[in-house]
Symmetry: C2
Subunit: 266 residues, 2 copies
C-alpha cells in the first residue's frame, strides 16, 4: 500500500558515458516546443522527432512525462529572479519580484497548468525561495512568518496571473484582439448576469475600459494590498508579541485526518 515519494530530484541523473542525448538537451527541446505551440504540442513522439531521435529514447533519461515536466517547471523557476534585497527596500524587492514572475509567466504561459500541482523542489525553485525568504527576513519577519509571507505573495501572483494567461490564450485561439473578444463575450455575461441587476449595471458601466489596462491595474491593486497587509503586520508585531493562532485551530491534529480548517473567527 505505502508507496514512496518519488520525484526527478530523488533519482540521480543517469551516468554520462556517450551522451548523444542528455537531460539538458531534452529539457531545452521540450521548452521550445511548449513556448512555441503550448502544452498540447508536447507529446513524447513530437519531442523525439524534434530531437532527431527515436520516440522512446527519451525514456532512458527520464522516467516518465511527469518527470520531464518537473524539469521544465524548475527551468522556468530559474527565470523568477529575486532582486538583491540589500540594494533596496523590501517592498521594492518584493514588488519587482512579483512583476518578474508575471513577466516570466507571460513568456511561458503553459507552466501555470502545473505550477501548484507539481512539487516545486528543484534547485531553481529552492534558489528562488531562498531569495524571497531573505527578502522577508530583512523586512523584519521572524520564524515561520517568513515562509508565510513568501507563500502569500506567490499565491497571489500565481492566482491573478492565471486568468490573464487564459485570456491571452483565448486571444490567440480566436485571433481577435482584446476588445473584440471582450465584446464577443459581453452578451453571454450580460445574459448570465441578468438576475443580478447591480452586477449587470457594473458591466455596462465599465464596458468602455480597456481590458488589458484594467488587468494591469488589478494586478497592482492586489499587490499593494498584500504589501500593505504585510507592513501592517510588521508594525503590529513591533509592539505586542502577537499570538498568531486563530481560535479553533488545533496545534496538532490528533490523527492523520486534518479537519482543523475552522472558519475564520467571528
Amino acid at each position: 500500500m505505502k508507496e514512496h515519494f518519488s520525484s526527478v530530484w530523488t533519482r540521480e541523473q543517469r551516468a554520462a558515458k556517450s551522451p548523444t542525448l542528455s537531460r539538458a538537451q531534452i529539457v531545452r527541446a521540450a521548452m521550445e516546443l511548449l513556448d512555441a505551440e503550448g502544452l498540447d504540442a508536447l507529446s513524447m513522439r513530437r519531442l523525439g522527432t524534434k530531437l532527431g531521435s527515436g520516440t522512446t529514447s527519451v525514456y532512458w533519461h527520464v522516467a516518465h512525462k511527469d518527470e520531464l515536466l518537473e524539469l521544465v517547471l524548475d527551468e522556468v523557476y530559474g527565470e523568477f529572479t529575486v532582486p538583491d534585497v540589500r540594494e533596496t527596500t523590501w517592498r521594492n524587492a518584493a514588488s519587482s519580484f512579483a512583476y518578474a514572475i508575471r513577466q516570466a509567466l507571460f513568456k511561458h504561459p503553459w507552466v501555470i497548468s502545473f505550477i501548484g500541482t507539481t512539487p516545486a523542489i528543484g534547485p531553481n525553485a529552492m534558489r528562488m525561495m531562498s531569495g524571497l525568504v531573505a527578502t522577508f527576513d530583512q523586512a523584519g519577519f521572524r520564524g515561520p512568518d517568513q515562509d508565510y509571507a513568501a507563500s502569500t505573495l506567490l499565491a497571489y501572483v500565481f492566482g491573478v496571473t492565471a486568468p490573464e494567461l487564459s485570456w491571452r490564450s483565448m486571444l490567440e485561439r480566436t485571433g481577435l484582439d482584446s476588445n473584440e473578444l471582450n465584446a464577443s463575450i459581453q452578451p453571454v455575461v450580460e445574459k448570465a448576469a441578468a438576475d443580478y441587476p447591480e452586477l449587470a449595471a457594473r458591466y455596462a458601466e465599465f464596458r468602455h475600459l480597456d481590458v488589458d489596462t484594467s488587468r494591469a491595474l488589478n494586478f497592482e491593486f492586489g499587490l499593494t494590498c498584500i504589501l500593505d497587509g504585510l507592513e501592517a503586520r510588521l508594525n503590529r508585531a513591533a509592539s505586542p508579541p502577537a499570538n498568531h493562532l486563530p481560535p479553533g485551530v488545533r496545534v496538532r491534529s490528533p490523527k492523520g485526518n486534518d479537519e482543523n480548517d475552522a472558519p475564520a473567527p467571528h
Copy 2:
C-alpha cells in the same frame, strides 16, 4: 482566421423532448466520478457506462469534453457561498467566504486544475461574483476597485489552496500520512537546499512543526494580510482622492499588443 468565442453558455441547451439523458444528469454523474476518483477517471467512455448509455450519446447534449468541464466547474462555483454582508462586517463576510472556498476546494480537489484556465462565466460563477462584489461595495469600495478587491481575494485563495490540494493528493497516492510524507521529502529538499545554508537552517528548525497546522496558519496569515491591506486602502481613500495609476502604465494600449506591464515603481 478569426473564430468566434464559444462556450457552453453561448449555446442554448438543446430542446427537451424525450429526455432519457439530460445535462443535469450528465453533470451529476461527471461530478461523482471526479469526486470519487479524480480528474484522470473522467473519460467519456467511463461516463457513458456510468450513465448506462452509449459512450457517444453524451455528445448530443454537450459539444465536447471541455463544455462538460465548464458545466461541472460552474457547479462547483455554486458551492462557493458568499454570506450576506448585511448581517456582519465586510471583513467577516470576506473571511468566511474565503474559508468556504477553501472547504469546497478540499471537497472537489480536481477543480483547481482548470479554475483559472476555464472561463468562469456560468450562472453560479456570476452569482458568486455578484455577492462578493456586494461585500466590497458595502465595505466602501467604489468603481472598478470593487472588482479588483474581489479578484485579489479570489486569486489569493486559489493560489494558496492549490499546493495544499496537491499535497493532499500526494498523501492519497502514497498512502503515507502528512508527517511521514514530509519526512520522506525532507532529504530531497535538504540536498537541494544545500547551497543555501540559511534555507537549510530554516528547514531544520521548523521540521518539527505539524504540516497541516502550518498550512492552516499560512492560510490565515495571508488572509488577514489581504484584509488588512484592503482596509488600509479604504482608510487611505477616505482622506485624499488617490491616483491609482502607477507610473509607466498607459491608460489605453495603442494596438492589440499589450506591453503595459511595467515593473513596479521604484
